[in-house]
Symmetry: C2
Subunit: 144 residues, 2 copies
């Protein structure tokens, strides 16, 4: 006699704020490594499928249809948790990623750095600015 879990969302999709395309952006994060893997979009059907099946399901904007991630590649994403943000207009999905998340074969879709803060940042104005902000904030909100 096996107890089957019921998979339910604590907030219905209708209460989340959609963008101008009627879709909800979803940030996908590896639940173990915490790497950000990709961003995709959901409609109501995709959200409900994701919760029901435990596999990340999106709405493909290019193909204009439901997209079960991994359906052709086998690189499924198993949902660990879904979290909505304070504005209720963006979802964060923590997942177990099978294989690479990116269609290019990269582990994550974010692999092309456009800017990096120089390691040897010797500009005292820049360095002091950052430290000064932290000091000001700690003064107002002391930490033990």
């Amino acid at each position: 006699n096996i107890s089957v879990n019921t998979y339910e969302s604590s907030i219905p999709f209708s209460q989340m704020k959609k963008n101008n395309d009627g879709l909800l952006p979803v940030v996908v994060q590896d639940y173990k490594t915490k790497e950000v893997l990709m961003v995709a979009y959901m409609n109501e059907e995709a959200y409900n499928k994701t919760v029901e099946t435990g596999r990340m399901t999106y709405y493909s904007r290019s193909r204009s249809k439901l997209w079960l991630k991994g359906e052709t590649s086998g690189h499924f994403q198993y949902v660990k948790s879904l979290t909505i943000d304070c504005d209720k207009d963006t979802l964060l999905a923590r997942v177990r990623q099978v294989g690479p998340a990116c269609h290019t074969g990269n582990p994550t879709c974010f692999f092309e750095e456009t800017y990096k803060k120089p390691y040897d940042d010797t500009n005292p104005l820049t360095v002091l600015d950052e430290v000064y902000s932290v000091i000001m904030d700690r003064k107002e909100h002391p930490k033990e």
Copy 2:
């Protein structure tokens, strides 16, 4: 004689794909803890300001103007790196966050869980499905 770093983007904003509002979504991640803090949007001016100043600057969709994060709260975000995704339509910013990222006082804007995979998942179909996917993927792409 201090060498001042030049802050430049390796890809101009014009080569990134904007959404239907002409904006680029930005996922903001704490560079140390790897927590996803928030998602906001940039126009070209915001992107260039961010790279020039080293402080995350967005385009506020509600106020329809440039928004230096932390300007009123002191909760600045200092840029460590910017990474564009494979589609060039989403940016990942790794930052040093001063204070909480969220206007509610929460460390991150993602604090309301709408779904969590039950810890005591005893449904063998669900458990086997996840393990089976990993086995199939490892068979095709062996790891040493």
